[in-house]
């Protein structure tokens, strides 16, 4: 085992435990987390398999395949997050707006 494999394995284990602690509410989440965990460890221990996968889809190196797919995934994630942010912002705005209308003051002339 090389040093990088040890670091990545520890990283995956820590993230998985963290995710498990946060999401343990549903069985599906636990299965999903376990799958990610297994896949992550597998690719770290047998990195040549990513190369095979890459060749199969027409990319020369496994690391390249990984970076292409993670860019796509991250971009998707940013869009999802931004859409969600907008929704939260709208709800927040409604809250502030309704409060200000409730508390509207009518100034008197003096």
């Amino acid at each position: 085992m090389t040093i990088i494999q040890i670091i990545l394995t520890i990283g995956i284990v820590v993230i998985t435990i963290y995710m498990y602690l946060r999401l343990r509410s549903s069985l599906l989440d636990v299965i999903l987390v376990a799958l990610f965990f297994a896949a992550g460890i597998f690719f770290v221990l047998f990195p040549e398999t990513t190369n095979k996968l890459a060749h199969w889809v027409g990319v020369s190196r496994g690391a390249d395949l990984l970076s292409y797919s993670s860019i796509l995934f991250l971009f998707f994630l940013i869009l999802k997050l931004y859409a969600r942010l907008r929704r939260v912002e709208q709800k927040f705005t409604e809250l502030v707006r309704n409060k200000s209308i409730e508390e509207a003051e009518e100034f008197k002339q003096n």
Partner: protein
């Protein structure tokens, strides 16, 4: 003739303590109802307004001009407004234009009137670079909404009840000006343009939008188009 009290002028205000009293007093003098939406000013703008017979609403958190306008529109509808005017707090607009806009909306039987500083009959001292940026903005708004106005980002507008019911601003910041056009087109509102006077003062050009803000607003419009 309309009773001027049923015409509600919405003045969004964010840190305009120096000029807001003059702006509001000037509008009140013409007999209109004033709704001042204080977007969480921190310079004591509220204190400047004591003794003026207005409705005063305050956002607990600074949300932006678009959000303040929508708050004002909601409140005006609750008060049974016939017409709603959006008016800048910084003293650029001329309250004499409101009467002319009311006449125009009734003559044209339109639902919304956009103020324009570039129609014949209007007076403005906009700089050359400002005029250039506004021209670009006109075409961006045209591209996004399908309506080509002679001016863009003019804060003076008049809405009738139908327009107020059909326009719901969700762009809290500056892209709301584009959203006015988009929603007017989408809801098939009839629109007119009125030549209004805009006087840039040393104060208002120091505090208001800078040309550079155009780039920021452009990205707001882009995100608005993608996400709604």
């Amino acid at each position: 003739m309309n009773d001027n009290r049923s015409i509600f002028v919405i003045i969004p205000c964010y840190n305009e303590a120096r000029v807001v009293r003059k702006t509001v007093a000037d509008v009140l003098e013409k007999g209109y109802s004033v709704i001042l939406v204080d977007d969480c000013s921190k310079d004591g703008s509220k204190k400047q307004l004591t003794g003026l017979p207005i409705y005063y609403l305050r956002h607990r958190v600074n949300l932006g001009q678009g959000a303040a306008l929508q708050t004002g529109i909601d409140f005006a509808k609750k008060k049974g407004a016939n017409y709603i005017v959006t008016f800048d707090a910084d003293g650029q607009h001329d309250s004499n234009d409101i009467a002319g806009m009311i006449k125009l909306i009734e003559k044209d039987k339109s639902d919304i009137v956009f103020g324009s500083r570039f129609l014949p009959g209007s007076k403005t001292n906009a700089s050359g670079s400002r005029t250039f940026v506004l021209n670009m903005a006109r075409y961006i708004n045209y591209f996004v909404s399908g309506i080509l106005l002679s001016d863009a980002y003019n804060g003076l507008r008049l809405l009738d009840r139908k327009a107020a019911d059909n326009i719901r601003l969700t762009e809290n910041k500056m892209a709301h000006a584009t959203q006015f056009q988009v929603l007017s087109a989408k809801n098939r509102l009839r629109y007119s343009e009125y030549p209004n006077n805009i006087q840039y003062t040393e104060y208002s050009s120091g505090k208001g939008l800078r040309n550079w803000d155009g780039i920021k607003i452009f990205f707001e419009i882009l995100l608005y188009k993608i996400f709604s």
